[in-house]
Amino acid sequence: MSEQKLFTLRNPWFGAAVGITGGIAVLSFLAGLIWLPLAQPDLKISGIWDAICSAAGVPRAAPQSSVQQPDFKTSSVVLTSEMLTHPDQVSIGRGATLAQRCAICHGPEGVSDANSPNLAGQFAAVTYKELNDFKAGARVNVVMSPFAATMSNQDMLDIAAYYAYLPRVPSNKIDAELAAPRIVVTGAPMRNIPPCGACHGDIDTKAGSPWLGGQSAVYIKAQLEAFASGSRHNDISQQMRNIARQMTGEEIDQVARYYAAQP
């Protein structure tokens, strides 16, 4: 056996083994790196060499198509989870003075029955972001926009600090019996809706997401409908618009009623 030569074309095992292995490798190369890329019109391959480079994974510059700009202003506020969590007393005091002008709608203690948001105890980052968006025009409201237009950055920081400092006043509509709707607890995975509670309390609180407990049901419903229609669009990365668009009218009512009845 040992006198047989193996690495020679005269040995049929050698020729067959190398030929078959090499043949399969070449065929799979041709199919995987040339034929299949060319067969996919979406890839926009310009030639054989381009097909090979594309299928081999050579990094290519992204197509230089122009980015479509929205026809409205978007929010430019950047929030971090630590932001505005340690306000100083002077800021809160200045905020208390500045907030006099807000009392007519938001109540002297940050709580009102006027179906405008209750601001007492709201996270400072939330109030600050909304004021900024009103001022910049990313969020528009006939009443709020003129108020915000004249505020300085420090004014907005102070007002936000003041309202965060006020204790949340228990709503007179609390209903502990009301069970949390499914959308609040588990969301709707098949419609790509995360649980409301994952950002707005109950499960977790995320930076920039307002505390919804005790807010007016009319206000919550109006905002969800505004997100769904796109008339409100200051949510970063369309988070709320994507969610609200997928929600049914019934779910919006449930959520509004539920949060209005929470502390």
């Binding site: 050698f14 399969i24 490798a25 790196l33 299928a55 081999a56 050579v58 995975p189």
Partner: protein, 541 residues
């Protein structure tokens, strides 16, 4: 002729001891994440346990089985004492010490990175050092197998290498080459980060290196099982092997195409081009060939044995097989699990179909069915077959063995079939906790519960296995005679040099590795900005 029985027994006992501990961990994992357990445990313990279970079952247990069985094959087929016994003990010690070194940081919660490492997660350096020690210990075995074969060939230039030895050395070469990928990953990418010399890691390149090891390692685990199919099963049921050449071709095919296919584990990864994924997919498809050849040859061998015993008819011969024989039973159950597992594997290797089950519980089900089922049940059979020859004591609790094998089979089916199903429903793998109250997850509750019951059945079977082994170790002394392997129908007097040597096949193996891995690795080495910050597991935040 088994001479170094203590060496072989030491490998088997350590292997099964590690297997027993990891089996308990596995059953615990199945219980804590099942609906039977209200969630009241620290999920970190789950990942510790998964890391320990995977490292023990993946790296230590099958490696020791392959090594011990390899030494037994060497002495039994070459009919002379093993050359390099001291080196063999040194290899054994490296594996044993390496396993302990790796397991200490894992049990302290400092290396809960799972046995597949998953960079950019980085754990305690001793975990990786322990794994490297296990691999280096097994490389000593690879070298010894090769040396022993070379010496025998020099002394017996005109005799064909015995089939069992040929397959054993094929498995050792396959392992020697396939372990290189993980070794490169650990030494050049992970360890510098784990030791604090660097704080970023090229996670994509690391995963490509690991895929080099990750798939062929399964074939390394599989080789002892296939050796048992070809060289123990026909003899044990009183028949002959249908074809010696077919067997050699199967093992050769494993050497050549089992390795350059690992990128099918990275179908969802962005760092490898689609063209190379396709090529790996094609070669993964080719690995079905040696398995199909094997199923044909083994069924033909069974038919021969049955007809020798008086079996008749197109299918009537199946009934005449010696079903009371544990080896017969184990092989049949193994082939059934191999069939289902292989069918699932064909789905995994298809570039498009993989997307439906990638990283779901289906994958866990698949590799448990193949490895835990088809492969490990033959490890039991190998132990049952070898034990009397190693201990010099009778082992005749056949009823107990059959119960054990049936329980293992039933347990594995009850465990893995529901896993496949919940995988299709979308259940992700590697999760410590599932909220079964969630409407999207609740349809999986029953199936996951069922698989946990399967885990308990497997644990029971594991206990029975140790009962059989320990009883065998304490039985009356009796001479089991010389250990023999199956004889083919046509004993080869002369065979082509290609079927008697490895040079050509190793060349093709390395060549295909260069073709299929060369560009993806070279590209990632050259590309800048592919490093990401490491995430140190167990570090205080």
């Amino acid at each position: 002729m088994l001479i170094n029985k203590r060496l072989i027994l030491a490998h088997f006992w350590l292997a099964f001891a590690v297997f027993g501990l990891a089996l308990i961990l596995g059953a615990w994992q199945m219980f804590v994440r099942s609906p039977f357990n209200a969630w009241h445990f620290n999920p970190e313990f789950y990942y510790r346990s998964v890391t320990a279970h995977g490292s023990a079952m993946g790296y230590v247990f099958p490696t020791l089985i392959a090594m011990g069985f390899g030494y037994a094959i060497t002495e039994a087929t070459l009919e002379k004492p093993l050359v390099g016994v001291r080196w063999a003990w040194a290899g054994f010690a490296l594996v044993a010490v390496g396993a302990v070194v790796a397991m200490i940081p894992v049990s302290l919660g400092l290396a809960s990175v799972l046995y597949t490492f998953y960079p950019p997660m980085v754990g305690n350096p001793f975990y990786y050092i322990g794994v490297v020690m296990v691999v280096v210990g097994s490389w000593i075995w690879v070298a010894l197998m090769s040396i022993n074969l070379m010496i025998w060939k020099r002394d017996n230039p005109d005799r064909p290498v015995p089939l069992a030895m040929f397959a054993n050395v094929a498995g050792s070469y396959l392992w020697g080459w396939t372990a290189v990928g993980a070794a490169l990953e650990i030494i050049f990418l992970i360890l510098p980060v784990a030791l604090g010399l660097r704080s970023t890691i090229d996670a994509g390149l690391a995963r490509v290196f690991f895929s080099w090891t990750l798939h062929a390692i399964v074939y390394f685990w599989l080789i002892p099982t296939y050796i048992a199919y070809y060289t123990i099963f026909p003899r044990a049921i009183g028949g002959r092997l249908y074809s010696d050449a077919m067997a050699r071709i199967s093992f050769i095919l494993f050497v050549v195409v089992a390795m350059p296919i690992g990128v099918h584990h990275l179908f969802a990864d962005p760092q490898v081009g689609a063209g190379f994924k396709f090529m790996h997919s094609v070669f993964t498809g080719l690995v079905t060939l040696p398995t199909l050849l094997t199923i044909f040859t083994i069924c033909a061998s069974a038919e021969i044995a049955s007809r020798l015993r008086g079996g008749r008819g197109a299918f009537g011969w199946v009934r005449a097989l010696p079903w009371q024989n544990p080896i017969m039973l184990a092989t049949a159950l193994s082939l059934v699990m191999l069939g289902f597992g292989g069918a699932g594997g064909i789905i995994n290797m298809s570039y498009q179909l993989d997307a439906t089950i990638h990283n779901t519980q289906w994958i866990t089900g698949h590799f448990h069915l193949i490895f835990g089922g088809a492969i490990v049940i033959m490890y039991f059979a190998i132990a049952y077959d070898l034990w009397p020859h190693l201990t010099g004591r009778a082992m005749d609790h056949f009823g107990l063995m059959r119960t054990q094998l049936w329980l293992w089979f039933i347990g594995m089916i009850v465990t893995t079939f529901p896993w496949h199903y919940v995988g299709i429903l979308g259940m992700p793998r590697r999760m410590a906790f599932y909220d079964y109250a969630n409407p999207a997850i609740s349809p999986q509750t029953f199936s996951v519960g069922m698989s946990a019951v399967g885990g308990l059945i497997l644990l029971t079977s594991g206990v029975l296995f140790f009962v059989v082994l320990i009883r065998g170790q304490r039985a009356e002394r009796s001479d089991a005679g010389a250990y023999r392997f199956s004889v083919p129908i046509h004993m080869p007097a002369r065979i082509p040099v290609a079927l008697n040597s490895f040079g050509l096949w190793l060349t093709l193996m390395v060549g295909l590795t260069v073709v299929n891995y060369g560009y993806p690795i070279a590209q990632l080495l050259v590309l800048k900005q592919t490093n990401v910050p490491a995430i140190y597991v167990g570090a205080s935040r």
